[in-house]
Each structure stands twice: as C-alpha cells, then as structure tokens.
Amino acid sequence: MGRILTGAALALAVAGALSGAALAQQPTEVRIGVALEPPILDPTAGAAEAIDIVVYQNIFEGLTAIDENGAVQPGLASSWTISDDSLTYTFKLHEGVTFHDGTAFDADDVKFTFERILAADSVNAHKELYTDIAEVSVVDPFTVSFTLSKPVGLFLFNLGRGDAVIVAPESAGNNATTPIGTGPFAFVQWDKGNRVLLERYEPYWGELPALTKASYRFIGDTAAMTSALLAGDIDGTNNFAPDSLAVFEGNPQFKVLVGTTEGETILGTNNRKPPFDNLKVRQAMAHAIDRQAIIDGATYGYGTPIGAPFAPHNAYYTDLTGTYPYDPDAAKALLAEAGYPDGFNATLKLPPLGYARLSGQIIASQFAAVGIKLELINVEFAQWLQDVYTNHDFDLTIISHVEPFDIGNYANPDYYFGYDNPDFQALIKTLNETVDDAKRKELAIEAQTILAKDAVNGYLFELAQTGVWNAKLAGMWQNSPIEGLVLRGIYWVE
C-alpha cells in the first residue's frame, strides 16, 4: 500500500512538473521591481507612496476607485446619490464582498473605517481630507450615508484614495504587517528587505484578474534593477531611472511606457528655520535654480518644468514657471538685500531616489554660483521619513509629492516644510467647499499663484512615469494619476 501511494505521489509529481512546464508558457505570475520598500503595508497609516504601490486596489479597495485617467469609478460602492445641498452622500454597497480573512464586508466596516480615520489617535497621513465628515450612518447593511458639515469638492475622489480604503475592525490593527482587505489580491508574505508576495483572492466579488500571483521585489540600485530586468528576474518596473532607459529603448523584448505622474518634485525648504523664513532668501533660491538643466541632468528630459506645486496635465493648471526666472544676478541681489551678501551654508538631505540625488548635485552647483554652499547628506528612506518628514530636522531636501491634488498640504502649518499663511489656508478652505467647477478653477489658480510668489519651496519639475516592462505584458497603467501600481488589468499576451 505504501508503495502504491509512493507511486501515485510520483505520478502526481510528474504531472505537476508537466503542468508546471505548460504554465511556464502561459504565465499568470508577475514579478515587479520597485525601488523603495514600504515601511508598513497599511495605506491608512502612512504617507509613503511605496505602501500604495503594493496595496492600492490590489489588497485594499475604497468605496470609490480612481481609474487610469484619474476619474472616479465605483469601487466597493456600486452607486451613490448626492443631496441637492451636496452635504449628504448615500452609497449603495456591493453585496457578497468578503475580506481576505473570510469576514463579510458591510456598512459597519465603512462606518468603522471612517471613525478610525477621524479618531483622536488616528495615524492617517491625510486625516484633514476627511474632517468635514460630520457623521457616517448605517442605513441598512448595504447602504451607508455620509453627512458632511460643509460641501467638499473632491469628496468622491478623496474616498478613492489609498488613505480611505475600507478595513475591517477584526483585522485593522494588524494591517501594518499582515494587510487584510477586500481587493482582488490577498497578502501572502513579506520577506523584509526582499519582497512582498500576493496571490489572487479567488472569492473576489468582482471580475477576477488574469494574474494569479504577483510579487514586488525591492531593488534600490539602478544597476541591479537593470540587470534584473535583462536577466528576466523581474518582469517590469513602473518607474525606471531615466539615465539607463536607453538600455531598453529599441530592445524588442521590452517596452518603455512614458506617462505622467502626480509627482511634483520640489526643493523642500524648511520655512520655520532662518534664513529660509525670509521671503527674499527663498526668492533668491528660486532665481538661482535653472530648471531646464535639472530636468535634462536628473530626468534626461522626461520631466516637465513647474512653477507651483501643481500637475501640468491638470485642468486647473496655470503656468507659473516665469515667476522667478533663472537669473543668478537677481539671486545675488536678493541675497544681499536679505542680509546675506556672501551667501550662507546649508544642508541638503537627499532620499535614495535617483532624481533626488542627481538634482541635489546640480542644485548644489547652481547655488554655489550665487554663494549658497550646500552640504549634501544622503539618507536612507526610513531616516528621511523620520528626520525630514516627521521631526522637521532639515534645511533643504528634494522629494516628489506624488499625491493627486496635494496643494492642500500647503495649508497645513504642521507639514514638514512649515508654510504658515492664514490667507492661503482660508483660500484652500474655500476651494474645498466649492463644488462649481469654474469657480474651483479660479480658486486653484489663485492658490498656485500665491505659492509661486511666496516661493515656499523650489518648484523643480513634474516627474514622468517611465516604466520598463516585458514586451509580452499588457494592461499596465501608462500614467499614474494616483499613487499605486494597479495589478488587476495586467495580463500576459500570447
């Protein structure tokens, strides 16, 4: 009997190997390389884009979902109605939805999610987007209504962000390490420093994705990423360093997808700290920056110059790049007026991102020309989050703000660059409460103009998304209208 069983097991193993070989020709697994490892995997508890790259719309879903074009689509809510005064939103929820631990999804989870975001001890990175929610009430298990204290122009969009994905009371506490959501992919394991594995969640309520497995490999080094792509260790990456893009351009085994992102790359300036609290100093720095040189040098021409923290492809965009044009003489004159005729010394903390490190060297050279001597300090990402983002211990930094429509950050005086302008805060408040599109555009342009004139940060360029993928993969997002790398549409052709 034992022998027969062994024989059966052997036969099974052979059959398994054969079907494995068959599967190799029709892969349903994708291995994606990403530069940054997320600090945690709970998108409702951290600001890092790296979290959303792994989990957004893959593991977790919101009531609404943002599509490839940045438009709001139904998510866990199948439909909704909005009251005439724009204060009450009633959502009809999908039925038969389960979390990956098997628990059912219903209106109580929605209520729990938003109470968790708004709780006093909430660690949500964008609590301020949801503070106008006065009440979340469960009408019946599959109907939930939101009452707002005032109209919020982007409310449906905000519900689709990674910050507002629906979590369950049973599992929310552990989402940082074992995320449990309702999405088409379930979390399998996280080998810290190496990769995160996801697997298709078969009982998924919606259309099942073509991929059955996905893994995210964390490869911080461009040369290592290049080798991994060429060797076939990974099938693609959503954002590849532009300096080596030429390796893959014209290679028929790969396709290069160039699209837009919501990433405004800025020279983050600590407005709390002298001399950066002086408007003249900030204006001088703005005049000292030669954007085109930075774009050519750091992004190989793939970036778009910006004069305010606003995406150029947005309908509300206005071109303010001419506010403080590149003019080293004007910069020197302003520095002298500000009391720094010989310039000053400052530090520039650079996160481990190719564009930041390269831009840093170029800006140091440009600033040296007007007398500002920068000391470049390269930091790891966790240290950057702690020093710069959390503790505000920095002079200058370079980072891309990849959230859509994130101009509201400038209305938060506690944000890391510490811009405290009551007029601007009032303007953003009005903007958030305005629903009429023409009026919103007018206000958004006014807001951009204030930020450009105040030279809060150095506005460098809008980051392009330069993805490199295996030529046989299809369905990746070319543009990145929201932080994330959505797997559900990806499939192998042939």
Binding site: D221, D296, Q361
Partner: protein, 279 residues
C-alpha cells in the same frame, strides 16, 4: 641611477605611483575645470582636446575628476596607513620588548580585529559615525593597526635575539629604550615595505567604501565614487566606468610592484625575516 637600473620593479612601480601622486597633488592647485562645475549641456562628451578624458553624466570634466579623485584616494589611504603604523608599530614593538602579558594583550587585540573582515569593520565605523572621507580614514586605519602590530612584533622578535641587542642591555637600557634605539631602526625597512602594500590596500578599501556610498561624499570625489556614479550607466556609457576603474588598477599595481621592488632593494635578507613574520 645604477641602483634603479638594478631594480626595474621598483623603478616601474615608483614611476607609476609618483605619476598618479603628482596628478593628485597638482589637483590641489589646478585642474582643467572645477570639479563641482556642472554643465549639463556638455555631458557625455568623448575625449577631445578640451576634455582629455571626456565628461560625465553631469557634464563634469573627467580628467579633473580623476585628478581630484586620485588625491582623495591617496590622502585617505596615506592617513589610514599613518594611523595603522602610528598605533600598530608601537604596539608590536612593545609586545616584542616586554613579552608576557603585554604580548598576550597585543596579540589578542590583533586577533580580535582580524576576526572581523576589514570591510565589515569599515562599514561598522561609517555606520556609527556616518559616511564621509574622514570616517573612511578611521575605518581603514583601524584595520591597518593589527597588520602593522604583527609585522613590527615579528621583525623585532627576530632582531631581539641578536648579540648587539643583548649588548645594549648591558649598560642598563630598559625594554622601551631597546625597542626605540635598537629594534625600531632595524625593522624600519619592513615597515616601509608593509606601508607601501597597505597603501595600495587602503586605496582599494577607499574605493570600495565610496562605491557602496559610505566613503567620500559629493561634491568631493574619489575614484570609487566615480565608479559608483557611473555604474548605472555602464551599458550605455562604459567609458565613464573604465576611466576610474583603470586608474584604480594602475595605482594599485604600481604600488604593489613598488612594494615588491622596495623589499628586494632595501635588504635581500628581509625576505628571510618576512618569511618568519608570515610563519
């Protein structure tokens, strides 16, 4: 002149080393272009009359970078050797002169440092005190200490049994005086040879540390940092990695040949002595 002719190794090695050292020294007062001067419009130029070694990805002049980078590499390595010899040689001499517990302590201290691979020690130091050229000096110097301590002790032990040392004891010289007046001068050649070899290892170590981002930081430059900057573009612009890479190879070969030649030249008997050291 005849001396150099009799020792071609030494001549070639010294010539190469001195050439690079001079290039580095000249960079103190003059480079073709300022090394921090970034000019995107002129990047990725091949070698020509204006830029002898071309320009890098930020439009910096490669020849200027190589000159300045060589200086950094030499200075870091030389300081590290100074630290290693300055602490290691007295320790080794003390071990040989006093013996007993002193010797035990010095040897165990050396074993302890040897137990960690050099690069791990270096990463530890730079991780504790932050990356930078000065910390790289400390890190590389630290793992030079036991090397010099061993060489000094080995050399001194073989001298200490000789008659003239015993004669030195007769007028009442203590171990410290013996070590300083009789042992040190006689192992000086050993130390110099070891120093040359450690210098080449130091240059490699500096390049390694800078390559992993723990050594020299921009806007300063070193050969290892140039390699690091260029490696992501190796497939497209291999020239950018070839230049600093070949420089490192040439300097290290030059120093090693010079070290070998020096050993032959200074005292043929030292070979014998050195064999004892290794044993």
């Amino acid at each position: 002149m005849n001396f150099l002719k009799r020792h071609p190794n030494l001549t070639i090695g010294l010539a190469g080393t001195i050439l690079f050292a001079l290039l580095g020294l000249i960079s103190l007062v003059w480079t073709p272009y300022p090394i921090a001067q970034i000019d995107i419009a002129r990047r990725f130029l091949g070698p020509d009359a204006a830029h002898w070694l071309g320009t890098d990805n930020l439009g910096r002049d490669m020849a200027s970078l190589v000159m300045s980078g060589t200086l950094t590499s030499f200075v870091v390595a030389a300081l590290a050797v100074t630290i290693g010899a300055g602490i290691g040689v007295p320790l080794g001499l003390a071990a040989a002169a006093w013996g007993g517990p002193v010797e035990w302590l010095v040897l165990r201290f050396s074993d302890f440092l040897f137990a960690f691979p050099a690069i791990i020690v270096a990463i530890l130091v730079t991780a504790l005190f932050g990356p930078g050229a000065i910390n790289a000096v400390l890190a590389i110097g630290l793992f030079n200490i036991p090397v010099f301590a061993r060489v000094a002790r080995g050399g001194a032990l073989s001298i200490a049994v000789l008659d003239f040392v015993a004669a030195g004891r007769l007028p009442g010289l203590g171990p410290a005086s013996i070590a300083y007046r009789h042992l040190l001068p006689n192992i000086m050649s050993l130390i110099i040879v070891q120093g040359t070899i450690q210098l080449s290892l130091g240059i490699l170590a500096e390049a390694g540390l800078s390559y992993v981002g723990l050594g020299t930081q921009p806007p300063a430059t070193s050969l290892g940092l140039m390699l690091r900057d260029a490696q992501s573009m190796f497939l497209i612009h291999p020239w950018l990695t070839l230049v600093p890479g070949l420089c490192i190879v040439l300097i290290v070969i030059g120093l090693n040949i010079a070290g070998d030649g020096l050993r032959d030249a200074i005292d043929p008997r030292l070979r014998q002595v050195n064999a004892n050291v290794v044993a």
